[in-house]
Symmetry: C2
Subunit: 314 residues, 2 copies
C-alpha cells in the first residue's frame, strides 16, 4: 500500500494526517498555527508534525511516497511557491523547496479549496467525470475535479467561484470587485444580513437565540426560522436564494456530474439543500439532459488533509 502525508495549513490550526491511497486516514494530529509568527517557524512546526505522525503510527518516512500541503491563498503549484496569502501572511514563499529539504521527500503545494475538493471527490465522488465542491464559510471557496484531477487553470488560481459577480455594481468585496457572490452567499454575508434584520425587527426571536449563542453567528436565522420566526425565515429565504442563484451559475458553466456544498453552514443539511435543489431545478439551463446531483459534503475538516495528501500522488 502507498501512503501519503496531507497537511491542511489553516489560519488557526495546522492539521495533518497519514493517508493511504484510497483516502483513509491512518493517523492524524494538529497544532496551532500561531499565524503571526515568521513563516519559517510555521514550516518547521509542519515538519515536526510529520515526524509526530510517523512516530505515532510507528512508520518509517521511507514508507511515505510524498507530502501534500493545502494552503489558503494563491498557490503556484507548478513552482511550489505560495504567491500570496492573507490568512497566514505570506508572499512568494518557496514552501516546497523548504519542506523538501527538511523532510527529504517530494512535496506538492495545493490551494486549500482545491485540496478539499479532491478529498471529497475521493471519499464520495463515485468516479464522477466532473465534480465541484463549493464551501460556504468566511468567504465562498471552490474546487473542481475534472477527470479525477484537480482543475487549477493555467496559473494555479482557478477556480474562484466566490468571485463570480452575482449583482453587477453591487456591494464591494474584499477582492476589490463589486457584487461578488461571496458578498451575498458567504456565512459572513449571512451574519450581516441577520444583524440588519434584527435591527429592523426588535421583537424577532433572533435576539433571544443570539443571546443564547453569545453572538450573532450563521445559525441564528436558521434556528429562528425553524422555530417559526417570520423575520428569521425571511433572512434564510433571501440568503438561500443568493446561494442557489450562484450554484445555478456554477452548474450552467461546468455542468458537473456532482456538486457538493461544504463549510459550516452545510450542517443545516436538507433544510438548506431542499430550497437550493428546487431553485436549480426551475432555473438551470439544462432541461433535456441528465441533471447535476447536488449533495452536502461529507468529510468536514478531514477533506483538507485527505485531499492535500492525495494531491501529492502525481
Amino acid at each position: 500500500m502507498k501512503y501519503y502525508i496531507g497537511i491542511d495549513l489553516g489560519g488557526t490550526n495546522i492539521a495533518a494526517g497519514i493517508v493511504d491511497k484510497t483516502g483513509k486516514i491512518i493517523a492524524k494530529d494538529s497544532v496551532p498555527t500561531l499565524n503571526t509568527r515568521p513563516i519559517e517557524a510555521i514550516m518547521l512546526d509542519m515538519t515536526k508534525l510529520c515526524k509526530t505522525l510517523l512516530d505515532k503510527s510507528q512508520m518509517d518516512i521511507n514508507k511515505i511516497e510524498a507530502v501534500g500541503i493545502g494552503c489558503p491563498g494563491t498557490v503556484d503549484n507548478k513552482n511550489g511557491i505560495i504567491s500570496y496569502s492573507n490568512n497566514i501572511p505570506m508572499k512568494n514563499v518557496p514552501m516546497r523547496k523548504f519542506m523538501e529539504k527538511q523532510l527529504n521527500i517530494s512535496v506538492n503545494l495545493e490551494n486549500d479549496a482545491n485540496a478539499a475538493a479532491l478529498g471529497e471527490y475521493t471519499a464520495n465522488g463515485h468516479n464522477a467525470s466532473s465534480y465541484i465542491l463549493i464551501t460556504l464559510g468566511t468567504g465562498i471557496g471552490g474546487g473542481a475535479v475534472i477527470n479525477s484531477k484537480i482543475y487549477r487553470g493555467f496559473n494555479g488560481v482557478g477556480i474562484e467561484p466566490g468571485h463570480m459577480t452575482l449583482i453587477n455594481g453591487g456591494e464591494r468585496c474584499t477582492c476589490g470587485k463589486h457584487g461578488c457572490w461571496e458578498t451575498y452567499g458567504s456565512v459572513t454575508a449571512l451574519i450581516n444580513q441577520t444583524k440588519l434584520k434584527m435591527t429592523d425587527n426588535p421583537d424577532s426571536l433572533m435576539h433571544k437565540i443570539s443571546g443564547k449563542f453569545g453572538e450573532v453567528n450563521g445559525r441564528v436565522a436558521f434556528e429562528a426560522a425553524k422555530a417559526g420566526d417570520r423575520a428569521g425565515l425571511e433572512v434564510v429565504e433571501k440568503y438561500t436564494e443568493y446561494v442557489a442563484d450562484g450554484i445555478t451559475s456554477v452548474i450552467n458553466i461546468f455542468e458537473p456530474e456532482i456538486l457538493v456544498i461544504g463549510g459550516g453552514i452545510s450542517k443545516e443539511g436538507e433544510y438548506l439543500l431542499n430550497p437550493i435543489r428546487k431553485f436549480v431545478e426551475i432555473n438551470e439551463f439544462n432541461k433535456y439532459r441528465p441533471k447535476t446531483k447536488i449533495e452536502i459534503a461529507s468529510l468536514n475538516n478531514d477533506a483538507g488533509i485527505i485531499g492535500a495528501a492525495l494531491s501529492a500522488n502525481r
Copy 2:
C-alpha cells in the same frame, strides 16, 4: 494527410468544408437551411453538401476520416442525438445514426459554440492548456478547450456562460431564469439598450445613424460614440461594463490561459477590447500570477466548420 468534413448547421445556412487535420479548409460551400422543413429534408441536404464538396475537390469519400456537425441547442454528444434545438426545431433527433447511414462514415455531433471554440483554438490557441471562446451574438455562447479537448460537462450541455447570473433577480432571460449575463451583454441586449437611450435622447446622433442602416442594430451606439455623441457613448460604456463584468467572472472561474471574444460585435476590435481589458485588470481575483490573455476571435464564420471537422478527430 488526414481529412475531415465539418458542417456548421445554423438557423439560416448550412455551411460545410473539407478540413485537413491542421485546421486548413480545402473546400467549402453552403446552402440555405430553410429551418421550418422536416429535419429529414435538412439532413439529406447536409449529405448532398458533403458530396458536392467531395466533387468540387475531386476527392473520394474514403479519403475522409470522419464528419463533424456543429449544431445549435442541447447536443447529446455521447449518444449522437440532438436533444433539443430552438433555432431549427428538433427534439431527440438521432442525427448521428441518420448521417452515418447516409454517408457510411463516422459522424460526431457537437454543440456549435463548443465546435467554434475548438476551431479558434486550433487556429490561434498556441497550445494553451485552457482556452475559452465567448461569442456575443443574439445570445452569449461559449466553449472551453481544456488540454486540447472540448469540455462538455458530464451531459454535453457545458459550457453556458451566457446563463451565469449577472444581476440577481434581474430581467427575465429566454432560458426562464432572471438576470442572466446574456440579457445584458448580448447584441440583442445592446440593441434594446440603444433603443431605450434613443427614446430618451431625441437629439442623439443615433437616430441619424440608425436611419442610415435602416434599423437599430448593434453598430448604432458604437458609431455614434466614435463620432462623439454623448448618449451613444453612455450606451457603449454601460454595455461594455456588462460584458467586462461577465468576462471577469469567467476568468475568475476558469483562469484560462487565453480567452477570445467572437460574434458580430467583436468586429469593434480594440475599441471593445481596451475597456474590457482595463476592467478585468482592475477587478480580476488573480493579482499575483500570470494573467489571462484576452483577444478577439480570428476565424469569423469558419470557426464552426473547422471546429466541427476537428471535433470528429477522436
